[in-house]
């Protein structure tokens, strides 16, 4: 799997917010095996590099950082934050979030496409946080995105894959674009389900950060992602309505009288 030409072996991307402590965050990242971590950049931390102490803990792990325009509600805000992130983290990667609704944190897909175009033209490699909408996905690709990150469910909701049909159809329409389910996963089986659909990776934060034992949960998700990917490659069965006996019934030896 590669994102913008960068080869990665782990298909689990981990967010770095809301852990009980930075020490637990570091342990959870290690347990997850993640090679990419997202870091949300709030402007109060960006100014004067005021978040440096926290980031240096993450940097010390030597992983690839995917900065995130978390909490931006307008194109302008998102673009400004992306520029700040590029400078601070010295990367052209940006996870682009443009929030359209404060309650569901649903992406503002119109603003998202606009911001993606501006950033892609400016040399950024954009990872857009989007819905599973096909047409929006198409517009994002047109705008220059070479990775798409549709939601499973609203951020932090732990609901899993809300629209399996939509996600499957997105996968079918974009066989060559890396697709990452981002947001809404609650338990490892959700991650396995996304991988079984043929998604390239999943991105998590709250499900691990706010688990009773984040480190153990990170490990559980890593196992699920691996299992789901292996299952996808092994070409699983399609559900059917009637039983399909695994042993022949005709000519079966009669037991007893």
């Amino acid at each position: 799997m590669s994102f913008y030409g960068v080869e990665l072996s782990s298909r689990l991307l981990l967010g770095t917010a809301r852990y009980p402590s930075p020490a637990i965050l570091v342990e959870a990242i290690k347990a997850s095996g993640a090679e990419v971590v997202t870091v949300s950049l709030r402007r109060e931390s960006g100014a004067d590099r005021a978040g440096q102490s926290f980031w240096s803990l993450i940097r010390a792990l030597g992983l690839r950082v995917l900065p995130n325009t978390a909490g931006c509600h307008s194109v302008k805000e998102a673009v400004t934050t992306a520029h700040m992130a590029r400078e601070l983290f010295d990367t052209t990667w940006i996870k682009l979030e443009v929030i359209g609704d404060a309650d569901t944190l649903q992406p503002d897909v119109f603003g998202l496409v606009e911001a993606a175009r501006i950033l892609a033209e400016d040399g950024f490699e954009v990872f857009p946080y989007t819905t599973e909408d096909l047409v929006v996905a198409d517009r994002l690709v047109e705008a220059g995105c070479r990775v798409l990150m549709p939601w499973g469910a609203p951020i932090g909701s732990a609901r899993g894959l809300n629209n399996v049909y939509g996600l499957r159809s997105l996968r079918a329409h974009f066989p060559d674009i890396p697709l990452v389910v981002d947001a809404g996963l609650g338990v490892p089986s959700h991650a396995a389900a996304a991988m079984e659909l043929g998604y390239d990776a999943v991105l998590l934060n709250t499900a691990v950060a706010e688990a009773g034992d984040p480190v153990e949960m990170a490990r559980a998700f890593a196992l699920a992602v691996e299992a789901g990917r292996a299952a996808y490659l092994a070409q699983p069965l399609e559900p059917r309505d009637m039983a399909a006996p695994s042993t022949p019934v005709i000519g079966k030896a009669a037991l007893g009288d």
Binding site: P20, S21, P22, V26, E44, S45, A50, S53, L57, G156
Partner: protein, 334 residues
Amino acid sequence: MKRHSITVIGAGVAGLCCALELAGRGARVEVVERGRALGEGSCSWQAGGMLAPWCERATTDAVVAERGASSIDWWSQHFPGTARNGSLVVAQPRDAADLTRFAQRTERFDWIGADRIASLEPDLAGRYRRALFFPDEAHLDPRRALAALVKRLAERGVPVRFGVELSPDAAPGDIVVDCRGLVARDVLPDLRGVRGEMVVVRCRDITLTRPVRMLHPRIPLYIVPRGEGLFMIGATMIESEQRGAASVRSTVELLNAAYALHPAFGEAEIVELGADLRPAFADNLPQVRREGRVLRANGLFRHGFLLAPALARQVADTIQMETNHADIPERRRA
């Protein structure tokens, strides 16, 4: 304890608790503080003052609850203004799942219904159908509590000298206890600041007798009654070391929470907006470290009043243990 002379640097909650504990064990103690008055430049001044080990248990290490539980008696003994009325945890209907989850992750609480809520906090009658009540928790006004500690120290002959800036190496005394908080990062490079913001409002229409926490997807929000119509609303936790006043975004979120708890807060007067940095180590737990004759007690994070008494005991135990064997200055470095 041998009658050591000990200099405590810093008159925040860590320094004052250490001084009192050490004086109580017979040491000759002096406190120096670079601020010119109590609270100046000290993040303890912005604290919530909740002694809520079991509420904290829901989101932090079990150690916080274990070490914090005894602080309720400690504060009651040293500060008569400590109110042991418990605390209440509520959630807006849309965040009801968070209340269940909070309950799963801690102990020492009762699920209570509308009637009990109304009898505990009459002004919240009819506003919530369910809440968690932690009967054993307590709260205090941090500023009065710090002033009470200074007074106690004075009674024991321990001076607190304000406007005196000393580096631990240059400080007099057989032993130096470095309680400078974030200022000590010159010698504690793994110490970081975690920004917190708070609001104090005056609202005459509401009376609360205990802290109320409101579960919120982003901020551990609480409203602590301070008496005379004053309420402290806190507190954000941002991985940023930016100094400077509270941001509009944070202030709006804090005030919204108060307004959601009771619309009468909409008419409240904003008395104060505060922002400061909490000193924290990577595991967000306090530590005592020794370097020669200097003990560094730091990293209380968001648990200053809850954990300072235990930290002070740890400091005093360390000194006592060491001095049972040899003089501090000759001991090898930690």
